[in-house]
């Protein structure tokens, strides 16, 4: 051991210690890794559920709930889906920086120029053009369509890969349920976790849509509603809904500042009051604006069961630390002689503490690596049993760092008591 550094010396001693009792240290690493791995996997789920999907503007984006149901049996709360004319009234107000009015639909898509008849079942967002700027949708090629009516579409990265092998498909034509629409924009891979613009109906962890089509065109083409809708009247197709009491559109607005929020609130309330005065509904005026994080909270995006399981895994980790500590205790007890000897020949308590901590940190690093592998396996296993977790079960880089830190902290925590006991004795007690 020719090195000058005490750090290298302590690392060498730690490795020697591991070699002396490999089975014991393997068990300790496994014990801590399982605890850290399970907690990390749960934290990955919670992180995906609780994270802010658009932090740069989440406080300024508002979802609008309105209370304009036309009969005297209103829903308990203002509805998150709006009539066409109510939604358009919002879009046309001059109080917002931007807005998006949309509904979810679905079509079968194929390359119109391809000889293959293979069609892809595709999720559609029928929307006003403001959607792209409001959601910061990232474009790989081309740009957004500019009007709410036109035979143009934007497609997502996944569909572009499926049909065009990921190449620039701007200018190509897709046949969507028998209609030909031209691609004007292709998005980059776009993951919103949660899918803040449509967290209702259990869709918070769905992927972003495959196709974004102009709202008016989708209505004109009769693309059906693939989400919750309510109607107070009978209708045969969506193309009839513009002037009927059919509720299916969601509305988001972007406000430049908080002053605009109260102005918009007044605008909505006045609008509802006018409808009420005109006898269109009998309800109390109750319209709601929720920013992104408030809206996710209203929709209980963070699963309470996952939270409870995370809490349980914290307790489980505590048990793992206790077990690892119990395993380490005899190991450190057996090291009393060496501790006594080192103290006798000049090592201070601080030296011994640093040596012990170095061993713990090294143990923590090994634990961290195994824990992250186990965590990844736990998530893979979870997805096998619960496919709806697919878009949630992701170990982000910050989770990897957190996992390593957790492993270090638990490793140090589990060795504190054994370390204290090993250094507790009178130096001479172990030496003869």
């Amino acid at each position: 051991m020719p090195s000058n550094s005490m750090f290298v010396y302590n690392l060498t001693l730690a490795m020697q210690s591991f070699r002396r009792a490999p089975t014991l240290y393997f068990l300790i690493i496994l014990t801590l890794s399982i605890g850290v791995g399970v907690l990390c996997a749960n934290l990955a789920l919670v992180n995906s559920m609780a994270s802010d999907p658009i932090p740069e503007k989440s406080a300024n984006l508002f979802h609008i709930n309105m209370n304009t149901w036309p009969d005297d049996q209103p829903p308990d709360e203002p509805m998150h889906i709006l009539r066409y004319r109510d939604a358009m009234a919002i879009a046309e107000s001059k109080l917002t920086k931007g807005s998006a009015i949309f509904y979810a639909s679905g079509v079968y898509a194929r390359d119109a120029e391809s000889s293959s008849m293979k069609r892809f079942d595709s999720e559609v967002r029928a929307t006003t053009p403001g959607f792209f700027e409001l959601t910061n949708a990232p474009f790989a090629f081309g740009s957004a369509f500019e009007k709410s009516r036109g035979m143009e579409i934007v497609i997502g990265d996944e569909l572009n890969k499926k049909i065009f092998a990921g190449k620039n498909s701007v200018g190509k034509t897709l046949e969507l349920d028998g209609e030909l629409l031209t691609i004007v924009g292709v998005l980059k891979p776009w993951v919103l976790r949660p899918l803040f613009y449509h967290p209702t109906e259990g869709r918070a962890f769905n992927l972003t849509d495959d196709i974004f089509a102009p709202l008016e065109t989708a209505i004109d083409l009769g693309w059906s509603i693939h989400a919750r809708s309510s109607s107070a009247v009978n209708y045969t197709g969506i193309e009839e809904t513009r002037d009927k009491d059919v509720y299916y559109l969601q509305a988001w607005v972007e406000l430049a500042d908080m002053n605009q929020k109260s102005a918009l609130q007044s605008y909505l309330d006045n609008y509802s009051q006018q409808l009420k005065d005109a006898g269109e509904h009998p309800l109390a005026i109750k319209n709601e604006l929720h920013n992104v994080n408030e809206w996710l909270k209203v929709n209980k995006v963070v699963d309470q069961k996952v939270l409870a399981f995370t809490l349980a895994s914290v307790l489980f980790l505590s048990v793992c630390i206790f077990n690892a500590s119990s395993l380490l205790l005899p190991r450190f007890h057996a090291a009393k002689f060496e501790v006594g000897l080192r103290r006798a020949i000049g090592a201070s308590n601080r030296h011994m503490l640093v040596q012990g901590l170095t061993e713990s940190v090294l143990l923590g690093l090994f634990t961290g690596v195994v824990a992250l592998v186990l965590s990844w396996l736990f998530l893979k296993l979870s997805v096998q049993f619960l496919p709806r977790l697919t878009n949630l079960a992701v170990l982000e880089p910050k989770l990897l760092v957190l996992g390593m830190l957790l492993a270090l902290v638990t490793s140090i925590a589990s060795s504190l008591y054994p370390l204290y006991r090993a250094n507790y004795y009178t130096i001479s007690a172990e030496l003869k």
Binding site: M1, P2, S3, N4, M6, Y9, Q16, R20, F337, E338, L341, R342, R343, A344, I345, G346, A347, S348, N349, R350, H351, T426, I427, S428, L431, K432
Partner: protein
Amino acid sequence: MLNMNNISRIYQSDTIQTHALRDFSLKVNEGEFVAVTGPSGSGKSTFLNVAGLLDNFDRGQYELDGVSVQGLKDDELSRLRNEKIGFIFQNYNLIPDYSIFDNVDMPLRYRGFSASERKRRVEQALEKVGLASRLKYLPSQLSGGQQQRVAIARALAGEPKILLADEPTGNLDSLMARQVMEILHDLNKDGATIIMVTHDPDQAREVNRNVQVIDGQLADFKIYAPLDRTAENKGKTVSAAVSADVAEEMADA
């Protein structure tokens, strides 16, 4: 070199108070070789532990190489142990899976010497005890006497002011014990100050001064008079070299 005045060490259990050392005073000068003898449980080891700063004391004053040790913090005591004291234990206390080099190197690690300086000192210390060729051996590959010589090399490597030996030949046969004692005498001749706890009357007689501990105090009589280690006596067994004076003194005792 070592100056203890009225040192008391009391071990307290729930029901029993044991006075391991009571008003113990001893002065050891530089270059002396002092044997500490006494019956089992008399306080010899406690004295050595207190002298070596391995154990605290409850009352009294203790100066080691001009440094008063009362009230020193753990770091300061550790540094004193490292720089001024070399320990030789009865059980050698080598770490079994470290090489001879690494065992001797251990105290130097805590002194902050460079790698080259440590290597020089380890080789020099092992040279002194005749084991320079066994650097890479493990302790288990050496005889008991050789292991004790490694322990002596470890004590010497830091060039301490004083060597404290606790029955250094207690686990060795007579031939190996003789070799170890010769090394200690050679070190003393070169100027080392040595305090050795021993049960062996022959070894006690071989050294400059013998002190007797009884009931935690220095006895005020001598059992073993010093042996004349003059040239003509060297090489003889201790018994054969006992002077008439010593024999007389032993008879008196």
